[in-house]
């Protein structure tokens, strides 16, 4: 039975900007069990990084409580920090320092003995493909190499819980994929609990076992990505039919055929365009095509689009996360 690594109740954080009080986080409750990989997903300014900073004891909550790795973040911040790894949005390695120096410095910051931090640094340099870069200054590394160094710095103390704040922001797609491979490998090797923030939908979808959707400082959904998509968004099936008999199409696509989904029929270029919104679209598609054929209708084209986390966000908030990220 996994134990709880994070238990937060009613977390609130307000900031004073000039004379205005801004409520960045508005009463968040969240639990994370040992071994989970949880992604906080939301647009910029949603409150996900603020929540993460409260959980890492970097920022004191205005109200509410949080226990991380068994310790209260307000009353025992140093105990919390001794048990977590933190990879922030910036580059953790000091630019003027050499790679190995920073890993050793990090070990000293955690009070490790020299033989322990040297051995740990050597292991992480190898595991994160930083070999040959030990004597290079941090500023001479590429963006991807710096991020891998950040992961190594975050793992120097063998943390049972690792926080990553927007770990792949600013990296090219290849470096992003490479970093994720390394994070997954480290997780496999050390069995860590991981909590990360991201506004990349694909990352949250493919990497996280659980997605916590945050918007305007509140949790609007919290479930595994597939369940979120099942509950809050539909797959979309688009079928072309060589006919003008709209009623015939609607009659053929009975509720049991489309799984209770929604059917829209429109005329386009002398034929019908049928759009079915339903859960488990891939499983429904053969039945939909069969029902149309059985009704004597000729299918000219068929395609499907799986529900995405952006659809989930759109349905929950009325806004597209993809469009907000691009804006």
């Amino acid at each position: 039975m996994p134990t709880e690594m994070i238990r937060a109740r009613g977390l609130v954080r307000t900031f004073r900007r000039r004379k205005e009080v801004v409520e960045a986080v508005k009463g968040i409750d969240v639990d994370v069990a040992e071994g989970e990989l949880v992604a906080f997903l939301g647009p910029n300014g949603a409150g996900k990084s603020t929540t993460l900073r409260m959980l890492t004891s970097l920022l004191a909550p205005t109200a509410g409580t949080a226990e991380v790795a068994g310790y209260d973040v307000v009353t025992h911040p140093e105990q919390v920090r001794a048990r977590i790894g933190f990879i922030g949005q910036g580059n953790g390695g000091g630019f003027s320092y050499k790679v190995r120096d920073e890993l050793h410095n990090q070990g000293r910051f955690y009070g490790l003995a020299p033989d322990v931090y040297r051995s740990r640094a050597a292991t992480l340099i190898e595991a994160l493909e930083l070999g040959g870069l030990e004597k290079r200054s941090v500023q001479s590394l590429s963006g991807g190499q710096r991020r891998r160094l950040d992961v190594a710095l975050g793992l120097m103390n063998h943390p049972p819980l690792l926080f990553l704040d927007e770990p792949t922001t600013g990296l090219d797609p290849h470096s992003r994929a490479n970093l994720w491979e390394h994070i997954a490998a480290m997780r496999e090797r050390y069995g860590m609990t991981i909590v990360l923030t991201t506004h990349y939908l694909d990352e949250a979808d493919s990497m996280a076992e659980r997605v916590v959707v945050i918007d305007h400082g509140e949790i609007v959904a919290d479930a595994p990505p597939d369940l979120l998509k099942h509950e809050h968004a539909d797959d979309v099936l688009t079928v072309g039919v060589a006919s003008t008999d709209e009623d015939g199409v609607v009659a053929a696509l009975r509720p049991d055929v489309v799984g209770g989904g929604e059917v829209d029929v429109t005329r386009r270029d002398g034929e019908l365009r049928v759009v079915v919104r339903t859960a488990h679209g891939a499983e429904r598609l053969p039945g939909v095509l069969e029902a149309l054929r059985a009704a004597g209708l000729t299918v000219t084209s068929a395609s499907g689009k799986q529900a995405s986390l952006d659809d989930v966000f759109l349905n929950l908030t009325g806004r597209s996360l993809r469009e907000e990220a691009a804006a």
Binding site: L37, R83, G90, G94, R108, N157, H158, G191
Partner: protein, 288 residues
């Protein structure tokens, strides 16, 4: 010794995980160990680049070589130096050297925040804050890094001046350097706080640092005696902690321990240190 624990992930996989390295210290031991860890990281770059140290040493020596004769000529024996009856170079140095040492301490430790600004911008400061290091150790360690090279500079300057008539009283001078170190930690912590308050506005840090530095310096009588100045300057100097540091350092470098001004120097050093650390810790908690 590494121990292993079996962990079941949420995905159901059993993973053999090495136990976390959790070192929990407390009290003065932790304060010292943390401060040492911060100091050794910070000083590493200075040790790797000794040319910076050499060039920064040249500056006060040139200052001393050019300014000293001017003072001798301008004020004769009226500098209040112990035993000053004429305008000898030795008398001038006895008055001027402690002032220069205080000056390099002030200039150096007030720069603590400038290095921090860069680390705040790149993100490495946040990484340091996410470790179990005590906040006061981060402040003190960084300030000591600025003070350590100055200590070496101060000793070298004093030794270089001995052949020119400067009399060195080792033990009182050592006490003077210790008090200067305490004062420097306070100035460094205040500079740290200023850097955090100026986050993303580098110009603000430099504007405030430069605007404060020179009035403090001039109103302390560090470079020129205030006795010849107007009454308002003499009054203002009484509210400047640096005045007490300069007065006390001059006495200590002259081998005088019995003067009450030495005690006031210690009070000014400790008070600056405490105020600096309190303000620095508050700034750290507020900004991060």
């Amino acid at each position: 010794m590494t121990t292993a624990a079996s962990v079941t992930t949420a995905a159901g996989a059993d993973v053999e995980r090495e136990a976390p390295r959790i070192v929990t210290r407390s009290g003065p031991g932790k304060l010292l160990a943390d401060t040492w860890a911060v100091f050794t990281r910070e000083i590493l770059l200075t040790l790797r680049d000794p040319f910076t140290l050499i060039f920064s040493l040249l500056q006060p020596l040139i200052f001393l070589g050019l300014f000293g004769p001017l003072l001798t000529g301008a004020f004769g024996g009226g500098l209040g130096a112990p035993g000053a009856g004429g305008a000898s170079t030795g008398d001038t140095l006895q008055w001027f050297v402690p002032g220069v040492i205080v000056m390099i301490c002030l200039f150096g430790t007030s720069m603590t925040g400038s290095n921090l600004l860069y680390e705040v911008m790149t993100g490495s400061y946040e990484r340091v804050l996410a470790t179990p290091l005590g906040r006061s150790s981060i402040l003190v360690g960084r300030a000591l890094k600025e003070f350590a090279p100055l200590l070496v500079q101060g000793v070298i300057i004093a030794l270089v001046c001995v052949p020119f008539g400067f009399t060195l009283y080792p033990l009182p001078a050592l006490l003077g350097l210790v008090l200067l170190g305490v004062f420097g930690v306070g100035v460094g912590a205040l500079s740290h706080a200023l850097a955090l308050a100026s986050k993303n506005r580098e110009w603000l840090f430099w504007g405030v640092q430069q605007s404060l530095l020179f009035p403090l310096l001039i109103l302390s009588g560090m470079m020129l005696p205030l006795e010849a100045g107007p009454a308002w300057m003499q009054t203002a100097s009484r509210f400047n902690p640096l005045t007490y540091m300069v007065d006390g350092e001059r006495l200590l470098f002259a081998g005088r321990l019995d003067d009450p001004k030495v005690a006031w120097c210690a009070v000014a050093a400790v008070a600056t240190c405490l105020v600096g650390i309190v303000v620095g810790i508050r700034a750290t908690k507020k900004v991060v």
